[in-house]
């Protein structure tokens, strides 16, 4: 099925999504502040959402929308719990620096 010329090609969406994902991943790997790490995770999730939607649009299939809605719901829940944990850790240790929180080791 060929696309109308006015529409943006799917590759562009996918490229943006991949870029967002890489930025998010970089943030998760290098940033020290737990809150920023969280925001980076949100970025990655949204990159995934964008991919879902791009494919859904490309294939005229609503399943992709459904998946994106799921991801949003999961992201919301994850953010709620994650933030609660971060607050609890901050109250306990006075820091949200992930390098300082390494008690779960051998």
């Amino acid at each position: 099925m060929s696309l109308p010329a006015s529409q943006v090609a799917i590759q562009n969406y996918l490229l943006v999504a991949a870029l967002l994902f890489c930025m998010g991943m970089l943030g998760v790997l290098v940033r020290r502040n737990a809150l920023v790490v969280f925001m980076s995770i949100e970025l990655m999730l949204n990159a995934a959402n964008l991919t879902f939607l791009a494919f859904a649009r490309d294939r005229l299939d609503l399943t992709g929308h459904l998946a994106a809605l799921f991801v949003i719901a999961v992201a919301a829940a994850e953010a709620a719990i994650g933030l609660a944990i971060v607050i609890a850790v901050f109250r306990n240790r006075g820091t949200v620096n992930v390098e300082d929180i390494r008690t779960m080791k051998y």
């Binding site: 991943m25 790997l29 290098v30 390098e99 390494r102 779960m104 080791k105 051998y106």
Partner: protein, 741 residues
Amino acid sequence: MDTSWLTKAWADPRALSASLWLIIALPALGALVCGVLGKALGRTYVNLLACATVLGSFVLSVFVFQAVAADSSVFALSPASGTAIRFALAGDWGTWFSAGGFTAHFGLLVDHLSATMLMVVTGVGFLIHLYSTGYMEHDEGYWRFFAYLNLFMAMMLTLVLADNLVLLFVGWEGVGLCSYLLVGYYYTDEAKAWAGRKAFVANRVGDFAFLMAMMLIVLTVTAYAQSPANSTPVTAWQQRKAIWTRAVSDPGPLNFQVLEEFARVLPPSAVTANKNLLEANIPSGPLAGYTYGGTLTVIFFLLLLGATGKSAQLPLYVWLPDAMAGPTPVSALIHAATMVTAGVYLLCRMSPLLVLCPAAMATVAVVGAVTALFAALIAFAQDDMKKILAYSTISQLGYMFLGVGVGIFWAAILHLVTHACFKGCLFLSAGSVMHGNADELDIKRLGGLRKEMPWTTACFGIATLTITGIVPLSGFFSKDDILDGALHARIAGAPWVGPWVYAIGMVGAVATAFYMSRLYLLAFTGERSKQAKVPHAHESGWVMVAPLVILAALSVILVTHGIPGVIQRPGGPPVTVMEEFLKPVFDLPAGVAREAESLHEVPASSTPVTVLLYVFGWLVALVGGAAALVLYKRVFPARAGRPVPALLAGIRSFTVNKFYVDELYDAFIYRPIKWLAIGLFRVVDEFIIDTLAVRGTAWVTARIGSILRYLQTGDAQAYAAVMAVGLLVGVGYALFQVLAR
């Protein structure tokens, strides 16, 4: 006098056939109730219940016996030939189990042979149950005892009534189990518990052989059933084979009727157009290439080994003397009258096939004869009353095997019946002696019981005379019928067997007379020993004396069945009552043996010679008894206090130690197996399984874990980095795959 009531069945034969299962179910129910509720019911009710269930079986058995024995219009249809089985009652309760092409039915059959056994088992069984109520009156485990005893009855009756080998095997194993439970009844005494185990293990050796024999029979019979029909067009025969082949697949290849029909076709005869199948090769199946005759011989060697285990013959007899550790009624019921005769019954049941294997018959006869003499010699020097009786049982069972081996099945069964009566009586008398003498069994510490226990002494005396073979008693005729038959039997290929086993049997008879007279003289006559546990013995109560009297009376009355030449057969030599009675069963093996030419009978030269032979048998018994009388009443008392010659002392100690057979088995079988087992335990169990496999796995896992745990740095970002790298590698690989295409 109107005697029609004697020759008509007392009850409707169809109703009797349909209720055969009750004979087994009643004692089984008794066992269940006594075992589960016995302690709560109390002694009186347990005694009542145990005796009543067996009495019920006995009454039913009497009706069944009467119908089978007296009413010639009673018959059952054979599934294997579609024709009537000689006067028999049969009940079939459908398929018990079937696996692949093999089927076994829950079917019961009473013909003259099993009817005879039925009377012995339930009759003697009931008397011994009655006796036990007196014997066990001071025992706390009475409910356990009666539960086992009733279970034994149920199992023994299953063995006797079964119409196929599989069901017979259930009874066979069941009586073995009950024997174990009852020998080890006083399980707090380690030696007695050990005796139970020994009995069980020795029996298992035989049972294994029995099982192998059954499997070989199944293979042989099914191979023949699948073989193409006889090429010569004998239409009647082909029809018969078609019926038989159906029977092999439906009531199953181990059904006795199927086996009997099989025995009919093996030797060359009119039905098989004179083809000798015994030498033919088995056409198909795992046994392809072997001959039918050879396979049958192997089968019967295995069955013989099975029978020697259960019936305590050489080489597996060692468990029976130790089995005397059980309560005395158990010794009487299981280890004298019923269970140990199961081997004889089995071989008689299989007699149509047995007569096709002269080699197996000769072996049975020799094993029987040698055991008869061997056990009698060991009994010479035993001082324990029950041990003497145990060796005597082994010896008498040897005579039965001898009879089976030379093809005089009826005499073996007659001896089985008379033996059940007189040996039951002897054992029960021994129990009565124990009961009245604070469990004393050493005959040197008894003595003089004649005045204190008159009834027991009288019964023991009669039974002693019976087993010794004094003329007007049953034991004389049942034993001499066997020996006389042996003298006149010639087994094909081994004609020496008959006369030789006769000679060995005669020596055994002298020995029997000697040790039994010794036992009687030392325990019952003379002065009371100064080493006796209690100064005065007391006679037992009526529940114990009545069975003794009945059994003693029976061992006299049964003489009617053994006197030769009482019944004149039309066109044949005169025969005994028992031979005529069992004719419907043992006609078939006799006919098969004639066709296979495996067994010849040298006709007795004349009546005076036969009479002389029997007189000789009687004199032999008298000599043995007289020798004991002279030795123990004159020679030994006169020599008391003087030193014994070294040679005699040596012989005595050799005999006292039972010819060191137990030590021999201990050194050559028990110890090697024990060391092998210990070796296997140390190497396979302890080292390979425990150390290497089980603990080794745990150890390796723990070591690897303790190394790998250093990867857990606790740094979440490091984990994420690893994941990212993994993802990158995955993506890279995917890209590579796509681009490289």
